[in-house]
Symmetry: C2
Subunit: 177 residues, 2 copies
Amino acid sequence: MTDTRTRILDLAEDFTQTKGFNNFSYLDLAAEIGVKNSSIHYYFKAKADLALALVERIRETHNEACKSFSHRLATPQERLGALIDHFKCYIRDKKICMCGMMAAEFETVSPEVRMALALYFRDMRTWISQQFVQMNDPNPEDRALQFLSALEGSVLLARLEADPMIVDRSLDIFVNH
Amino acid sequence: MTDTRTRILDLAEDFTQTKGFNNFSYLDLAAEIGVKNSSIHYYFKAKADLALALVERIRETHNEACKSFSHRLATPQERLGALIDHFKCYIRDKKICMCGMMAAEFETVSPEVRMALALYFRDMRTWISQQFVQMNDPNPEDRALQFLSALEGSVLLARLEADPMIVDRSLDIFVNH
DNA sequence: TGTTTTACTTACCTACATGTATGTAGCTTT
DNA sequence: AAAGCTACATACATGTAGGTAAGTAAAACA
């Protein structure tokens, strides 16, 4: 069995992606993990600490995933396609991007979490931008912004319609020419 | 002074756009409007009723706004530009699209609200699609989906960076050629 | 072996969210 | 003038969120 701290983070990430960070409680976490809610406080003193840990963890895992795409896949089109598929998979579990969810909840989170969220999206834009550079796009930065906006918006719409294809249809233009 | 029911809806819409529908209470509404929370219950028995009223109201006002764009503005490019500006204006008030926010909160709202949200976005896609038809786009439906995804995603990112230009940069491709 | 640390539990507290039941002042209708 | 309706207020109920203080069993360390 994985350690409790990791199980808390995994479950909190899941809850955030489905319900939003503000729509689950320490009691919800505790009940599902099988401990008391004070044990959740033991690992993350306040809920704001949990939020920060979540965003910082996903920023790291996301950066590693992107690095892995860059190693494993030959063309920038394939790499962007892998990123699209990663987000598309959220839909069948009724999830959206965790940081997209927190971006919606932006006005309710701490300054530290706001900064961590900004860094997450900047990292993402940088990596996407690099793919467009390799595709000889005349304006890779703006193209990356368009790609990321479409990605975040499409998961919202796709979950609403319970149709993962909406993600593909919203991003096809960027990978097919 | 406008009637209390309208003031409740206006304030609830504002709160939803900034904090999210689940992150304000009847007490918050009552305090700002200057009545007791039981008076909010008088107009909207349960919070789910308020959510439904909000989405149905904005669907109507949005449809009228689009109709007005179609009458006032000559080209589809100008009309889409007006829609973009409408969303861009949210950013300086630290707001996002109300239905985009509720789409993020999708898993926590009632089936009635889910349906109303779906109708809102379908109306929106239909109108946007009509503009692309007039622009002789070979695939106006997919183009509308791309536009809407980019619009919803860009307001999320723009608010996070406190930079309304992100909305423009994410949607320029659709109106400039 | 004694002490400290780790990973929790027990037991509580305060605030607030979401309501319900009942009352009431003023206006309207018959 | 009586009855009813509108638009609220008073008072209360119930649950839960988020958090704290203190205790404890087992493992690690010195």
